[in-house]
Symmetry: C2
């Protein structure tokens, strides 16, 4: 496999946090060449310690308010959903975002995993959402498309999202945490796969990379935490929205490698309180997203996202007034995105792909 670029000048690492970032010490060999965007959650008068030698910018709530003015209302407070502010202010093509309780994991051989390098590999090689390859990623070293894979689809589609996984503490909901407090993920699955078109997945924000130019405006983490009826659904919300839009725009989403080491389970009792509305709302939200057909005229992520916001208000609004507010915040987010990321003069977005018949 060809050597991939390291993207040093093209990728920002976004970290939401409320504490000193000592966890960066372990990541130093891998992260130090990159620029960090730290989004400080909670009390802005606290000081966040960042280990020496890292290149970073740090935004607290006062900064968010100053940068966005009244539009700051779309950025959550007291919830890791605030990380999407970092996506907004970045000027780079790629984003990697990681939680501050995530450490370097090891392969079964004992070798430390450079998670960022694997995400870059995932993002810079195509995805295959239109047909399933049973030997997993055909672009991985020593792999290919199997017999019966249509040749017209072997170029693949551009990859928008790379979703990494977690060893040790799995990303369980509060009920599962309560029922299986001691379960640890020890299974190292040596695979990257494309999530097929038309299939939703639960996207976790703990260890996640994406192409900001391809899908950035859809990576809004919603209204969570302080003053909201729900928490711990920020990344899920972004994942549902982003996947539906990737499917429409013929972009790929990969999941699997790289693993990080997730060190600490959050409190399941606190989580239950944050999640419980999400747990029953998702029974309606997921069929809603599964049934969405975006208009063909929506050829940019922004177009798609505004259409989605309207549908959220119209079809989820009746469930709870929260979804009206969320739909409005989605529109505000796009306004903020466009303000901070004005399109280049000759932008041409297109949804057409020569070999693909739309299957909606």
């Amino acid at each position: 496999m060809a050597q991939l670029r390291d993207l040093k000048d093209e990728l920002d690492i976004v970290i939401p946090t409320i504490r000193n970032l000592d966890f960066l010490e372990m990541w130093r060999p891998f992260f130090q060449p990159y620029h960090l965007i730290i989004v400080q959650d909670g009390d802005p008068s606290n000081t966040i310690g960042v280990p020496e030698g890292f290149d970073y910018e740090l935004y607290n709530r006062n900064d968010v308010n100053r940068v966005l003015g009244p539009k700051a209302s779309c950025i959550s407070f007291k919830d890791s959903a605030c990380r999407c502010f970092g996506f907004l202010v970045s000027k780079k093509k790629y984003i990697f975002t990681i939680d501050d309780d995530c450490f370097v994991a090891k392969e079964p051989s004992g070798k430390e995993i450079n998670a960022l390098e694997q995400h870059i590999r995932n993002l810079l090689t195509p995805s295959t959402p239109l047909f399933f390859n049973t030997l997993y990623d055909p672009f991985a070293n020593g792999s290919d498309f199997v017999r019966g894979y249509p040749f017209s689809l072997r170029e693949g589609l551009p990859t928008a999202i790379s979703h990494g996984l977690w060893l040790n503490i799995p990303d369980y909901d509060a009920p599962t945490q309560l029922v299986k407090p001691r379960e640890r993920n020890t299974r190292y699955v040596d695979a990257v796969m494309t999530i097929p078109r038309g299939t939703l997945f639960p996207m976790c924000g703990m260890n996640l990379a994406f192409d900001r130019e391809l899908i950035g405006p859809a990576m809004y983490f919603g209204l969570m935490g302080d003053g909201q009826p729900i928490g711990r659904y920020d990344d899920m919300w972004a994942g549902w929205c982003a996947k539906v839009i990737c499917d429409h725009l013929l972009l790929g989403v990969k999941t699997g490698l790289p693993y990080i080491w997730h060190s600490k389970a959050s409190n399941p009792f606190v989580n239950l309180k944050k999640e419980y509305k999400g747990i029953y709302w998702q029974e309606d939200i997921i069929p809603f997203f599964q049934s969405i057909v975006l208009r063909e005229e929506c050829t940019s992520v922004q177009d798609c996202y505004i259409e989605l916001a309207n549908k959220v208000k119209e079809r989820l609004g009746p469930i709870d007034p929260y979804f009206e507010k969320l739909g409005d915040a989605m529109v505000t987010w796009i306004e903020a995105w466009n303000e901070l990321n004005p399109p280049p003069p000759a932008q041409t977005a297109t949804v057409a792909h020569p070999n693909v018949a739309m299957k909606n």
Copy 2:
């Protein structure tokens, strides 16, 4: 995880072959308790040697003709597609089929893999085709559904098919074999996953198990080999048909573990001759299968398959007269199936599933 049944009296092993079955020696510890159905391909006057101590029945072409009479025309000759005759004459609930150049593979730890045991585990635990679980099989030991997985879907759906993989010689088409003659599959991916609803996959017949009661009549391997314009698409054909029907009837298809050791690459020049029509036809066949919507009234596999046969003739017939013949053979196959497998008096098949909104 609970101890699973071994299915000794409920599963037949089907082996198509043209040679002595010495490969069974290596499988003896795993296969000897089971009944084998050997389908002898080619010249019926040849004698196939079967190692001592195995319980088997063997059918050659004369037997196929005797059992099926004029309907024997639907069973391919000089092609491993003849294996489906074994599915037809079995009286068991489950089938495992394996090629005679497949040997026992080893886990990375060096432990020999009991492929049949893993297939049984796959078949006896539910599938999750309606939503993607990022930690793979939620029913595997030490695993579960991740945060954001809808609770209403966690019971899963019955599993109809378990598709196993291959270490050493990967299942490549002739062009890929020619381009990468030395590529070997050494990547042991420790995962079983459900192929999502609405997604087709290339099903390989080398290492395959299924629930005959749930999906048997769809496991027809088509018209291949002697007198036909095509070969090496027998399992692909069965896979496309079976997956579309599983999606319609809300049944699951799993792929991944177990691995077998595939010992010998077939001749790529011979394969190219067999495959070349399939390679270009599949560019039309796959969009055809991707676009199929079966009528709601089709509530049995047989109903679905007859409907599929009609669509094949109608929509693929214009590509080549072969598909007219294939559509007729599909109908003959179902007639033969019903003759040899009369439905029990009080058969009740139903397509409805309480928690699932059909998404066609």
